[in-house]
């Protein structure tokens, strides 16, 4: 009796649910759990990867990089370079339109690039080299350089934050430090701002006016063919709830699956778990070069001899399949990666040598403050492992726990640890962001103008400048190796591990692109 009542009640609920779900089945909608909440819509104002991914939905780029690191025209139809390499002329494809119906014009492109160049590290370099941008006509514009610059296309096709997306001129004229809140672009999706609930839901619909390129998609290059009508980003902060939602079929795709939930979802035959990010991310130990004790090079070197990247890989990724050592200052798997001098990190760990270096450094027992962000599953394990290593080599290490918001504020302090400063923090960068000397900000030695930690290494800066002048890939590789050899000596930071976070999707989806960015064109739903 009890079971029949239960069955009746269950049937009633299921029928009611089905009746209510029926109208929504008319169009193809992908329900997707993104890596984070979309807080800002402006991918120039912030470098947050979630905003970059949003940018790829609604904006388009002049050029784009493919999986072989080749740069291809995207919005641009054709381009010409003068014999002296100083003049570049770009012509836009036919039929490009913004979501408000206005045509994409040269003026829009110039204004967008100018704004991007104020914020992006490679954009700033391009800006330094630029004499002028001029409109030839509505579809053609011209770049004049002060001197030849080999990375014009690499800059305009930069795949990760900040990406040089093209906005309408009226929006692109906004100050680069003021947020643009209107998501009008010319990309393959349109954002439905009326349905945006920050912290919960972002809705995109197919841009039916978008004309994709004919080439096959590869990373952000090639044809951006949208095969669904609507995409809903549903931010579910609790990973157990997200796992239940995809297991129950309430969502189709979960961008970043925590390693501890892989076994649970693997049991479901309707779910596929894959690594779609070929380069993954790189963890790092960053030192404060301004304050004792890590203003002492020998102490930084000491830690280098005891860091075991495999430990960090397991700590971050959980499963060895998703994490591996990468003893290179340029992302493993990219053209400039090398093993030049890498034995200091990849060779046999040498505790005695590390202790000897500590002794030689004249370390006097100064407190070493390791900042931790317990709410960041990539930062927290690194901080724990490093603190243990520091104690092991005889340093007076103290782990100071907080949240990520506190860490990124506190790391800007240049004060001694007694006045709220710090000695070490950990972070991670996506693979493309550390792929070249132009992008790898952590490697720079620009002193107080450098990225947090402020290493002062004029020699490294000279090498970086030389890299920009290098005439071809072979020369670029040589200089990159010289930079890496120098970095193993000066130790601006220590790369900890290269890791990927798998993605999970239901088998009714197909066509997911393998790319360091989460791209949603080419994905179809049965």
């Amino acid at each position: 009796m009890k079971s029949s009542i239960r069955a009746m009640l269950g049937a009633a609920l299921v029928v009611a649910a089905a009746l209510n779900a029926a109208p929504a089945a008319a169009q193809k909608t992908i329900k997707f759990i993104p890596e984070a909440d979309l807080k800002s819509l402006d991918p120039i104002w912030t470098t947050a990867y979630i905003t970059r991914n949003h940018g790829y939905m609604v904006y388009d780029t002049l050029f784009a990089t493919d999986a072989k690191f080749q740069v291809h025209p995207q919005m641009v139809d054709r381009y010409e370079t003068s014999k002296d390499g100083l003049t570049w002329t770009f012509t836009l494809r036919d039929g490009l339109k913004f979501h408000d119906g206005a045509p994409v014009r040269s003026a829009d492109c110039i204004a967008s690039i100018a704004r991007w160049a104020k914020r992006d590290v490679l954009g700033q370099k391009l800006g330094e080299m630029t004499e002028s941008w001029t409109v030839v006509n509505d579809k053609t514009f011209r770049l004049k350089l002060k001197k030849p610059f080999a990375y014009v296309l690499e800059a305009l096709g930069k795949p990760s934050s900040n990406v040089p997306f093209i906005l309408p001129e009226r929006l692109a004229k906004t100050d680069a430090f003021t947020q643009v809140t209107d998501p009008t672009g010319s990309g393959p999706f349109k954002m439905v701002t009326a349905e945006w609930v920050p912290g919960s839901k972002v809705v995109y619909v197919k841009n039916t006016d978008y004309i994709p390129r004919k080439e096959a998609p590869s990373w952000a290059a090639g044809g951006k063919v949208v095969k669904v009508d609507r995409v809903e980003w549903l931010y579910i902060p609790d990973s157990a709830t997200a796992a239940n939602a995809i297991n129950a079929g309430e969502v189709d795709w979960w961008q970043q699956l925590p390693s501890d939930l892989v076994p649970l979802l693997s049991k479901n035959r309707d779910i596929k778990i894959e690594n779609t990010d070929p380069l993954g991310s790189i963890g790092m130990i960053r030192f404060n070069h301004l304050q004792p004790p890590f203003n002492n090079q020998k102490l930084r070197q000491a830690l280098l001899y005891v860091v075991n990247q495999q430990d960090y890989a397991i700590g971050i990724a959980g499963d060895p399949k998703n994490g591996k050592p990468c003893a290179s200052y340029f992302t493993c798997g990219t053209p400039l990666a090398s093993d030049a001098g890498s034995a200091v990190l990849s060779g046999k760990r040498d505790l005695e040598k590390a202790r000897r270096l500590v002794k030689e450094s004249g370390y006097k027992g100064e407190k070493v403050v390791v900042l931790d962000a317990t709410d960041q599953p990539i930062v927290h394990p690194q901080a724990l492992i490093t603190t243990e290593l520091l104690k092991k080599i005889g340093l007076n290490a103290e782990l100071q726990a907080g949240d990520w918001g506190t860490l990124i504020t506190r790391r800007s302090s240049k004060e001694p640890v007694e006045k709220g400063g710090w000695s070490i923090f950990h972070t991670w960068w996506v693979g493309p962001d550390l792929a070249t000397p132009a992008l790898n900000s952590a490697l720079r030695g620009a002193g107080e103008k450098a990225w947090f930690g402020w290493p002062n290494d004029p020699e490294m800066e000279k090498l970086r400048d030389a890299w920009f002048e290098a005439p071809g890939l072979a020369a670029q590789k040589t200089i990159a190796q010289q930079m890496q050899l120098r970095a193993w000596t000066t130790v601006p930071y220590i790369p900890t591990a290269q890791f990927t976070i798998p993605t999970a999707y239901r088998t009714n989806l197909s066509g997911l692109l393998v790319s360091p960015m989460n791209l949603m064109w080419n994905v179809d739903k049965k």
């Binding site: 649910a17 800002s40 470098t47 947020q179 920050p198 912290g199 939602a245 309430e250 918001g405 900000s441």
Partner: protein
């Protein structure tokens, strides 16, 4: 409210964290962060910022979210319906169940019914809301497939979509509250049932229902209503956890997200809103005393 406003603003001012650093991201330099801070007016002195905020507040302007650039009033407006719906559903279900259960437990004191109610109360207090939530999801969503795992549907989308998304969150959130009210109802009823006028009513031949509801419950209602009022504070704190577990886009999650990323205008507005709600609830509870017990006058 003024004290709350001053307190919240001061607390945020001295707390660590900088929204400009969060916005700028990992690649930004200290100079980039300083420029963003200046653009947002976060480099202004304490008194200037407090004065600007108060002035805007006095004109009904809650400000603009530092991150989304959207008006805080709009963000709260988007989130208020799920939270109010969840709170009301929980309140209705728990009061409708807990008060009768407490009355019956008191009436049947010492029996298995009473012991069961007390056992449930202890469990209700002891098991955290999120554990109850996961257990309910596991049973009703994953095993039986009757109810959705997560999300919220507005009542405008139909009764069933709305209710199907409210049943599990309300049950999870209501357990603690139900345990509290049932326990208080039982204790108060036991006290009232031992009074002489109850014996007199029974001696006059009134039915059990008339004695329980007409005489005992009415006289026990003042402490029960007080606890219901206090319990709403408990509900609001529970809402944060429940909204997170069930991915309900309510005020609770808005608050937590705002705190994690230091979105000061939202934190300030939500805190003021909550304190205003508390004041109103306390006022309503105090007013209800005069209705429930005519001897009470203000």
């Amino acid at each position: 409210m003024g004290v709350v406003a001053l307190f919240v603003f001061s607390l945020l001012y001295i707390s660590p964290g900088d929204p400009a650093a969060v916005i700028a991201g990992d690649i930004a330099t200290a100079e980039d962060i300083a420029r963003i801070r200046a653009k947002l007016g976060l480099d202004e002195p304490y008194m200037v910022r407090f004065g600007n905020w108060l002035w805007a507040l006095a004109h009904g302007d809650l400000g603009v979210s530092i991150f989304t650039g959207l008006p805080v009033a709009r963000l709260i407006g988007q989130r208020i319906e799920p939270t109010v719906a969840l709170t009301l559903c929980t309140l209705i279900v728990t009061i409708a169940l807990a008060v009768p259960v407490g009355v019956v437990a008191a009436w049947k004191v010492g029996t298995w019914i009473d012991r069961s109610v007390m056992g449930f109360s202890v469990l209700g207090f002891s098991i955290p809301v999120f554990v109850i939530a996961y257990l309910l999801i596991m049973l009703f969503s994953m095993q039986l497939g009757w109810l959705p795992v997560q999300g919220y549907r507005s009542i405008n989308e139909g009764w069933w979509p709305f209710l199907s998304h409210m049943i599990l969150p309300s049950a999870a959130l209501g357990t603690v509250y139900m345990a509290l009210i049932a326990r208080i109802t039982r204790a108060t009823m036991l006290d009232v049932l031992s009074q002489d006028y109850i014996r007199t009513a029974q001696a006059k031949g009134l039915s059990s229902n008339q004695v329980l509801l007409g005489h005992a419950l009415k006289n026990a209602s003042v402490p029960i209503v007080t606890v219901i009022g206090i319990g709403i504070a408990l509900l609001i704190s529970g809402v944060v956890v429940t909204e997170t577990v069930f991915a309900i886009p309510g005020i609770g999650r808005l608050t937590v997200d705002a705190i994690l990323r230091r979105d000061y205008p939202i934190i300030q507005a939500v805190t003021l809103l909550f304190s205003g709600v508390y004041v109103l609830i306390n006022l309503a509870v105090d007013m209800s005393y005069t209705f429930l017990d005519p001897r009470i006058r203000y």
